[in-house]
Symmetry: C2
């Protein structure tokens, strides 16, 4: 039976990759007087619901979706959390 | 004594605000054959370290930083997690 899952996906730059947006935010914070902030890294946060036959199937599809569309595997890592939804979801309607 | 805290900040669009990037990702996934994904919302994920005298002080500063720089309170919500770091951090060096 198809179940619906809620996913939270975190896409982050690999540690070896420069983060110009993070550097810009750090510079902005310094100008605003916040000199106590360091190591700023900016990534993406994606929430979605996915319908799948099992949690394993949902995880497998999410891996594919992240690798193919949401993250650039050359410069980004991703991870995700998954929860089963109890309420039905109208997928495809 | 100043402590260092690691923060994970999640910035999301308010539910009433349209998310064209999320709609584009949903459309892309449909073209790739993933028709089982719904309700995609794309936000920002920020990691940083902050030095503060207490966890309350760190939370207060993070609220200010999010309101003033990281999030647009008109269209975005934010939340953050905070952990005390045991290793020292060279802030301002």
């Amino acid at each position: 039976m198809t179940q619906n899952y809620q996913a939270q996906i975190y896409v982050t730059l690999r540690p070896s990759v420069l983060d110009p947006a993070g550097t810009a935010v750090k510079s902005g914070l310094s100008h605003m007087g916040y000199n106590n902030v360091e190591q700023i890294r900016i990534g993406k946060y994606v929430e979605l619901t996915i319908a799948a036959d099992s949690e394993d199937a949902a995880r497998q599809q999410l891996d594919q979706i992240c690798d193919q569309l949401l993250a650039n595997p050359v410069i980004e890592n991703y991870r995700f959390d998954l929860q089963k939804l109890s309420t039905p979801l109208n997928v495809g309607s």
